[in-house]
Point group: C2
Chain length 514, copies 2
Amino acid sequence: MNQYTKTVEKWNVFEIRTQGRTDGNPFADYEVWATFTGSNEQKTVRGFYDGDGEYVVRFMPSYEGTYTFEISGSYADKKLAGEFLVTAPTGNNHGPVHVENTYHLKYADGSSYYSLGTTCYAWVHQTNEMQEQTLQTLDENAFNKIRFCMFPKHYDYNYEDPITFPYVGTPCDNSRLNRSTMFEYMEDKSSNHWDFKVFNPEHFKRFDKRIEQLMERNIQADLILFHPYDRWGFDGMGAEYDDFYVSYVVARYGAYRNIWWSLANEYDYVKTKTIEDWDRIGELIHKEDPYKRMCSVHNGPAFYDFSREWITHCSCQGTDRYKATELTAEIRQKYGKPVVWDEILYEGNIDLGWGNIGPEEMTRRFWEATMRGGYAGHGETYLFAADETMDYAKLWWSHGGVLYGESPKRIAFLYDILKDIPGGQGLRFLPQYWDAVAATTEDESKEFYLFYFTYLRPLYRDMYFDDTTEYEVDVIDTWNMEIVPRGTFKGKFRILVGGKPYMAIRVRKRRINK
Amino acid sequence: MNQYTKTVEKWNVFEIRTQGRTDGNPFADYEVWATFTGSNEQKTVRGFYDGDGEYVVRFMPSYEGTYTFEISGSYADKKLAGEFLVTAPTGNNHGPVHVENTYHLKYADGSSYYSLGTTCYAWVHQTNEMQEQTLQTLDENAFNKIRFCMFPKHYDYNYEDPITFPYVGTPCDNSRLNRSTMFEYMEDKSSNHWDFKVFNPEHFKRFDKRIEQLMERNIQADLILFHPYDRWGFDGMGAEYDDFYVSYVVARYGAYRNIWWSLANEYDYVKTKTIEDWDRIGELIHKEDPYKRMCSVHNGPAFYDFSREWITHCSCQGTDRYKATELTAEIRQKYGKPVVWDEILYEGNIDLGWGNIGPEEMTRRFWEATMRGGYAGHGETYLFAADETMDYAKLWWSHGGVLYGESPKRIAFLYDILKDIPGGQGLRFLPQYWDAVAATTEDESKEFYLFYFTYLRPLYRDMYFDDTTEYEVDVIDTWNMEIVPRGTFKGKFRILVGGKPYMAIRVRKRRINK
């Protein structure tokens, strides 16, 4: 065999990197493919050109044991082949996340994935120092999914050019740019000059690295492919270039077990694309992605039609200021898929209504989603008095960096409660309790109940269970992050809750061997 | 003429009290009517029997000057007649409240009535000492409408018999009564014994007095005629006795300028009546009430059809836990009538979800209603640790007494802001601001704007007005009850709001002679 014989962990990336043709436009003129064969699976996957004459194929094996590969395609005359050994996963490696039991998510190794997202749209476009700071902040928090864009962002607080562009070319001059001229730049993009068939490998290599660093941290990389906040023309390249870009991204990142495809941030604000365009892109991803990664479309004013076959889950932004995650159970039922709230307003204090809720409300919205059998996503937009007139303030929501808010640790506290659900199950909403948001496990084994009182503040709560089962009851203060055991009860009993908002009661069947 | 010659203020009650037949059942067997004639109006009104051989006719004159009256009916052989002088109103007397400009309310003298309600369902059924305490608490607060029931209440915390019953007879034995047997009492009412054609004057005289005391305080008496929380059978007397009762009540209280008719608390929980019953009762009131007082039907799960001709305003209870007064503008538009939220959950901490919101949420709900051109109503249900196991705790929502909450003074603060609207106008919602609840005056004169940020917390707000008008801008902290003038601005300007919840900005056209 040859120099590519090596070992790789199951669910890690096996990468083949080889030289090929450099004449013409290697991104467009040549193809590279590889077929991977193990005793339990065979996959043929597209590779991509990475500049400097290098062609790359990446593959994620799903089984242990010996694999062989054969490369094909027009990229070179001489084709490689080889074999490698897939070893058992270690450490953080639980495999990719997939839909389990209709409404929930699990890792491939069977462990639960309770999605707790955050959003840093443009973090990979910031300075490397700031990107490192973002990773450090993620290390200090419980978030296990992050939404971010491949293309740079043009919006309030986001007027600087990214550190690299995805294409070779020259951007428009941004020296006149400020909040009041922002929309002019979005209307006339003619002074940008890009070749949409020539990618800039430096840009994509940085995304390789960041996605891999997220993978090591068990953080899902919810990669946003398109978005409307653009002054460079990346939102309106047209179908041919869109597809060319999508194929490249799927070939490049599909093997990362933590990748999720988000076709868009706020698809319905992208004026240059129709539903047919989004459907075509979604179908293309579905065809090109050999792993069928998590895939959805995030909305502005109206949900995408999540019933599409290529959509794995409902990626939702609330469409009503007063009811968002409160609608989780209805959305679940409508689409029969997991509900992942990717935008529920951000904790912060900026002047825009989507970015100035308090930590109490952010935490409450997470609980509302969770109790209704869905998942929520965080974001933060704190401006400080010194930033008030600054167009370039650094806000976690877009830039990453540092978190100042009070909700992240409450979200981590919620995570601790989720991790303690029997059997690693997801929750199911119990609609019969109008004045408590009530949930039990999906299997309805009557072993676990949660009652969440949201902004209501009962001093005590009368509970009605059957007379034959003993339950351990805890009172949970979701804001002050306290769990107070109240003892063992059966039948009808009264629990002192305290007359404070954001309280919950946890009722668990008594474990005999405790 | 005769001994009834006297003077009365316009909009006060002119009462004729005279002796008549006592044989048979004077409540049912005889009628008393009187025709009142002034130079601007003539009204023939029904009187009522008040026990002890006394027949009473009450009349509210709407004009100043000399009136004559003539009594008729089967109550006596010898009929009275007389004259009296109607003088100008004094002090608190602004006349009755009526609908003005489709969505708002005014007193007959043209002054504005911004409705700020509260609820004490059974306050007139408590001890006299407690009733006096309720009046004193009302004196210390800004509420100008109170909802209460003619019939006693049977519900949690309300198991004691009232101090008087509306009918002569004997109530069921309540010695076995507690929270868990409550529903038994509601199902079998056979051990009550009443004569539904013989009223108990002592009961009604107390209501005379309390309604008059409310009138003196300029508090509208929103009198609830029926309700479902009953163990005595008053909720299921049948059409004949219902109409007999309604006619008596209208004859007795219609002349009080502060009376409002509320056909029911939660009509849709009264299982013994149909929509046809409610419509018949509403039409009867409309026919019997010579003054066409404010009249509506309060709901449980679903609004009544407020389009009925005899309904003057939408008396609403929220039907969604997360959106109630936020829907005011839509309800206004649907029915073309004022929206008065009579139940928006109560400030408190009891175990039932309708009675344990915090003062912040109560205040927020008042502001949401107000900003959308409607009006809201308060209630309070605070239980203290010492009351926890008590079935008879005294809660303002039902018993009156003392207020402990933090919302009433914020409601009074809101009232001060309303009283300062130019021309005493009502507000109209401006839907174009998604991230501020915005309002202007109904006349859209561009002289007055309010922007309310509800739970959102902008650090600052950029405002866009025209360049030619100077505006005085204040920042209002609706929770801390502070109004901070920010100066005079025009065109585009930035206002520091502070990054706190429950803030508002008031923008008023600069007054030249200030």
